[in-house]
């Protein structure tokens, strides 16, 4: 039996350490992983937990991320709790296996510490990698700081392993800004954390020799569609379970998370919509904008997949203007979030649609400052007053060279 760690009521942890402790507390049976900046410390911390007897599952340090996810799939099919962590190029190398894991409905938990994609090579945080796995049939949860990285990891096992869900789950956190920034984190004791997550419940295990399972069959035009539709349906319905787990976690800790998180949105006319650490910066900027007479708010979502279209559309529908902040650039298109948020709003019936603008920022961790956010709120205010978009739809923040904008 692994030894427990005595934790303080408040620990000073960065996001990686917070994630590592959550993985340790989950008493995972198999972790298979490969290092890459900025998620490497998750793997290293875990290695030291193993070396010091705080973990008694298997820790398999494989030769690549593709192998890491392959081993995770084999291990999960064999019927136990499984997790891994990666970033950027490593996640890119895993993509093939992501689809295979979700297709087999294996509840693996993956910590994705978001980072830019080469080329040019860049080790810093942006959200480009998150979108590689967007359509892979995994639940995608978003966090803003180390406390949330910890909390969401505990909840991720509950969500993924729920018998109605059985879908692999990603916990996103921002590279460096969350993963390498030490903050106060309130952990649960090992015992309470494990009790919350619960024992792993096996289903169709490869190690059940009385009922031999066939995993990863092929299905052509006669069955493939049905399989994919089943996964999609389970994913769409998983938000119910996500909300249930949020609720139980709130009862246990007092920390309440919601599918849609808003700040000062009730009476707001304009708002910034963002993911990750930017949400916290935007809240500061919104508070300051209110001092200047702008009715400013902020919104974010906790589950990027399943995407909460209806809830988000309803939360934002009364705003006059919204800036959608994309920390990635889908080449040749509007930002990915811009497209999703726009779709949410167009699903709201009988609504006068808010004016939408798209800001591309922070690629390769280019700074986003309070002055930048102040200017965005100013532009939103102008749009709201004019009742129309007063500038191009897609603009770039902090980009050197000639001003770039589209549409």
């Amino acid at each position: 039996m692994a030894s427990a760690v005595e934790l303080q009521e408040i620990e000073v942890w960065d996001g990686n350490m917070a994630a590592s402790h959550a993985l340790r507390q989950a008493q995972i049976d198999v972790v298979a992983a490969y290092p890459i900046t900025p998620s490497t410390p998750i793997v290293q911390n875990y290695g030291s937990f193993v070396s010091n007897g705080y973990v008694d599952g298997e820790f398999v340090m494989v030769e690549s991320e593709h192998a890491a996810m392959s081993a995770c799939v084999g291990a999960a099919a064999a019927g136990g709790r499984v997790a891994t962590a990666t970033s950027s190029q490593g996640f890119a190398l895993m993509v093939e296996v992501l689809y295979q894991a979700s297709g087999m409905r294996l509840p693996i938990v993956l910590n994705l510490v978001n980072r830019a994609l080469a080329s040019p090579l860049n080790i810093h945080g942006d959200h480009s990698d998150m979108y590689l796995g967007r359509d892979a049939g995994w639940i995608n949860l978003c966090t803003c700081n180390p406390q949330e990285a910890y909390d969401f990891n505990l909840m991720a096992f509950r969500i993924a392993e729920d018998m109605e869900v059985r879908i692999p789950t990603i916990v996103n956190q921002d590279g460096f800004l969350s993963s390498h920034t030490a903050q106060n984190v309130r952990p649960l004791s090992d015992e309470v954390a494990y009790k919350f997550i619960g024992d792993y419940q096996s289903k169709n295990s490869l190690l059940d020799f009385n009922k031999p399972a066939t995993y990863g069959a092929q299905a052509e035009e006669d069955w493939h569609f049905e399989h994919k539709a089943q996964l999609h349906s389970a994913l769409m319905h998983s938000s119910r379970v996500i909300e249930k787990v949020f609720g139980e976690f709130a009862k246990l800790t007092g920390r309440k998370y919601n599918l849609i998180e808003t700040y000062d949105i009730e009476d707001a006319e304009v708002a910034v919509f963002a993911l990750g650490t930017t949400v916290e910066s935007a809240r500061v900027a919104a508070k300051n904008a209110r001092k200047r007479g702008i009715k400013a708010g902020v919104a974010t979502i906790r589950s990027f997949r399943p995407f909460p279209y209806a809830e988000l559309g309803n939360a934002l529908k009364n705003l006059k203007a919204i800036a959608i902040m994309d920390k990635s650039l889908p080449a040749g298109a509007m930002g990915a979030l811009f497209n999703e948020v726009g779709t949410s709003l167009y699903q709201v019936k009988d609504s006068k649609h808010p004016i939408l603008s798209n800001y591309i920022y922070g690629l390769g961790e280019r700074d986003l400052t309070q002055v930048d956010l102040e200017n965005i709120f100013k532009e939103l205010q102008e749009n709201a007053q004019a009742g129309k978009l007063t500038h191009p739809t897609q603009q770039f923040i902090g980009l050197r060279g000639p001003k770039l904008s589209f549409c």
């Binding site: 192998a67 081993a71 084999g74 190690l207």
Partner: protein, 314 residues
């Protein structure tokens, strides 16, 4: 645990773990090899499979030919799928959550999955020392996708990506020597087998599966479709392969000790083996005869080398 099979009658009686109802071509040696492997194991076994002929022919939803736990992930990672399952077994056994008999872990891959795209994964598994047996179904071609060349295709073979033509005699490169590559990983046991020599094969598979650690079997798998011979000729063509020493049967223990396990009484010329298959037909044209000579020289040299290694016991 392995099973004692003494004669062909016993062998033919115990194949229910792999159902005859599958979609492999008539005469395909893949099915013979799988039956021989499953017959050699008595206790619980977990199988992994890479994408290829065996996989697409045996697990077509909603059917399965497998009466044992079986997993396919992708083309390259059958080895790591099994390694992951083996790691899970270890974890659960340690925690007292699995109390049954220790299973055997076996992965199958074609030569494409083994010599080429999946090599990194196999190498990783062997370096980490998972307790598993990897079995390559070596038909020297990507058969599932229509007969393209692989790193295992021999020199002179006409394949769909290296077709013999006006200026080409087919594949230019020699076959990769996978056994010595795998032995160099320090594997406790690697061996080459052919399904027509079933006793030799049965013995080696048992040894591989019962040896602790990662073990490797390269199984020659004659492919009626891509080697181009009649579907009732599988065993004859396989006999020619081992009797011409194109496919010598030997094993390497602990990474160094070479043992030849079959010495043909009458060694047949390589041209007899080549002549029995459509993929080498063009080599018998006068302008390509030198490739047959080259082939024979290569086979002689390798046999010589194997014998010297065996004698030297290093």
């Amino acid at each position: 645990m392995v099973k004692e099979i003494k004669n062909l009658k016993q062998f033919s009686k115990s194949a229910e773990k792999f159902e005859g109802a599958h979609l492999l071509c008539p005469g395909c040696a893949h099915g013979m090899i799988v039956r021989e492997v499953l017959n050699a194991v008595d206790g619980p076994v977990v199988l992994g499979n890479s994408t290829g002929c065996l996989e697409v022919s045996t697990a077509v939803y909603p059917y399965t030919s497998w009466d044992v736990p079986w997993i396919h992930i992708g083309f390259e990672n059958g080895s790591t799928a099994v390694a992951g399952a083996e790691a899970m077994y270890k974890a659960l056994a340690k925690k007292g959550k699995y109390n049954g008999q220790k299973p055997k872990f076996v992965a199958f891959g074609g030569d494409g999955a083994t010599y080429d795209i999946g090599f990194q994964w196999i190498s990783g598994c062997f370096e980490r020392g998972h307790d598993m047996t990897y079995i390559c179904l070596d038909n020297e071609v990507y058969a599932n996708t229509g007969g393209q060349r692989s790193g295992s295709t021999p020199i002179g073979a006409s394949t769909s990506t290296t077709p013999a033509g006006k200026v080409s005699y087919g594949k230019k490169e020699r076959k990769k020597d996978i056994l010595f590559v795998m032995a160099a990983h320090g594997s406790p046991y690697v061996a080459q087998v052919a399904p027509n020599k079933w006793k030799d094969m049965n013995k080696k598979i048992k040894q591989a599966i019962d040896t602790q650690g990662p073990t490797f079997i390269n199984a020659m798998s004659a492919c009626t479709t891509e080697w181009r011979f009649d579907s009732n000729q599988t065993v004859e063509v396989s006999d020619l392969a081992v009797d011409s020493l194109v496919f010598p049967l030997f094993e390497i223990i602990n990474g160094t000790e070479v043992k030849i396990t079959y010495r043909p009484k009458n060694i047949v010329p390589v041209r007899d083996y080549l002549g029995a298959q459509g993929r080498f037909k063009h080599l018998f044209k006068p302008e390509n005869e030198h490739i047959i000579e080259q082939f024979q020289k290569d086979v002689d040299a390798r046999w010589e080398y194997l014998q010297r290694r065996e004698e030297a016991k290093v």
